[in-house]
Amino acid sequence: MFLKLVIILNSLAYAYPSQLKVWKDDKYVQVVIKEHAGLHLSDTCLKKSPVVCEAFSATKVATKPSLAKTGTAGHPASRYCHDKNGSVRILISEDNKQYDYCLFKDGSMVDSWDLYYKHFPKQEIK
């Protein structure tokens, strides 16, 4: 019982926000985020079924990643967003947490780490 409560509280603490804000025209504007197929996408992607938007399409096929040449590792997910012909946006939650998103020409966005890990999965101890 106690363990269940801890798990529930833990999941609430790390719940992904359903709304984020982005800096636009000198002020922050809200962006609604929806989850689909394990990806966090801007809601514009999910207005039609099946899902059609460039952000979602970008997750289908891996692209050869460019290298970090600046002397440091840089930011792998942001670099990969550029490799996908997207541009990086920093979205902010109500509690000031920053999320990297990848913006595409049609205005759709996907969480940059979702995009990266879709093609280059993490290492996990089993």
Binding site: W23, D26, L67, G71, H75, K105, K122, Q123
Partner: protein
């Protein structure tokens, strides 16, 4: 036998260099064992975008934590007037021995992205100068997030930092043949950059930026207005009651993981976040952290902050040390990696335990 599953790129033709090494998470069979050591009141994680300034972000996290402790602030809600500017901090990433007047912030090179990239130097130089520009003077996320319209198609496909690089390179080419043409170019392009990226630098400052001797200097002058040096635009950081802790103190007798984890836990027990100067994220971890690929030379050094320690065990009694990483790769990286809790030894072994692998701020 260590049952580490390394997931490989799932598509043929993708080089293994895309993988980030050193951050091994635990599957759901592992649970926390015992209580953890956790630094309280850390600021929210930020993201460095594609600019290679992890060292400035990690130093900023350490400094913000110290400022919050001093001034009894809730670090989760700092305004941009209360936190250090990461762009201004970046220029403190230089050896203090090369600086004429270490206490004068103006003595430090006005550059972003020089080759010496250690967060520890930034902390040392913050102790020397006791001041840095406020984030509100050159807000990093506003510059990066500046979008004309989220919906409108991007007519300009140039990537932000590449656009800055190209602008500077083109100015240099033009200035070789025709000074007036170069000035006209700097005026027009400077204005474009100001509008496109919400820069707070004025027209004259942009022209001065173009006249910089190096790209790194151009970038700093373009992004950080000159008035960020004025007293009202700066954060004071009082140090008489503090000192910098550094470990290990020498390079000759390199310690091992067992010594490192004890040192780390000692700081965390005292509520001190620990700056890890550099760990290697490439497949093969070497002190220089660079590897040759078919696309050229790839680099993979990364600076970060450790804010917690715990033991993780599974039902069969297999246990690992875990540390909590406060990374500059945004909240989504934290979320995707169990809020930053990763296996400790793999990460720490990638620091090479060189001089100053760990640094922190402690009372005198």
């Amino acid at each position: 036998m260590k049952s580490l599953v390394i997931a490989l790129g799932i598509f043929a033709g993708i080089e293994s260099s895309a993988q980030i090494y050193g951050f091994n998470t635990f599957d759901s069979s592992y649970r926390q064992n015992g209580t953890d050591l956790l630094v309280k009141n850390m600021p929210p994680v930020r993201t460095q975008d594609t600019l290679g300034v992890c060292y400035a972000f990690s130093a900023s996290a350490i400094l913000e934590h110290a400022i919050c402790k001093d001034e009894k602030l809730d670090c989760r809600n700092l305004s941009n007037d209360q936190r250090p500017s990461v762009l201004d901090l970046a220029r403190y990433a230089t050896s203090p021995t090369k600086i004429k007047d270490k206490t004068d912030p103006n003595s430090y090179p006005k550059v972003i992205g020089n080759r010496r990239t250690f967060g520890m130097d930034i902390i040392i130089n913050m102790f020397n100068t006791e001041s840095v520009s406020k984030e509100s003077c050159a807000p990093f996320d506003n510059i990066v997030s500046k979008a004309k319209s989220l919906e409108e198609q991007r007519s300009d496909e140039e990537k932000m930092w590449l656009q800055f690089r190209n602008a500077y390179d083109m100015y240099k080419i033009k200035s070789k043949d025709c000074e007036q043409c170069a000035l006209d170019y700097a005026t027009t392009t400077g204005k474009d950059l100001q509008v496109s990226y919400n820069l707070k630098t004025n027209n004259l400052e942009m022209l001065k930026a173009f006249a910089s001797a190096t790209y790194e200097e151009f970038l700093f002058r373009a992004l950080v207005p000159e008035n960020c040096g004025k007293i009202g635009k700066r954060i004071r950081f009082f140090t008489p009651d503090k000192k910098i802790g550094v470990w290990p103190l020498e390079d000759t007798k390199k310690p091992n993981y067992d010594v490192a984890i004890v040192k780390l836990k000692e700081q965390l027990t005292n509520d001190r976040p620990v700056l890890v100067n550099s760990m290697c994220t490439l497949e093969r971890s070497t002190p220089e952290c660079a590897q040759t690929t078919s696309n050229g030379l790839e680099s993979g050094g990364h600076g970060l902050v450790i804010t917690g320690y715990r033991k993780m065990c599974n039902k069969s009694g297999k246990c690992y040390d875990a540390v909590k990483v406060h990374n500059s790769w945004g909240q989504a990286w934290q979320d995707a990696n169990n809020d930053g809790w990763v296996e400790a030894k793999t990460l720490l072994d990638r620091t090479d335990y060189a001089y100053g692998t760990f640094s922190w701020i402690e009372p005198k």
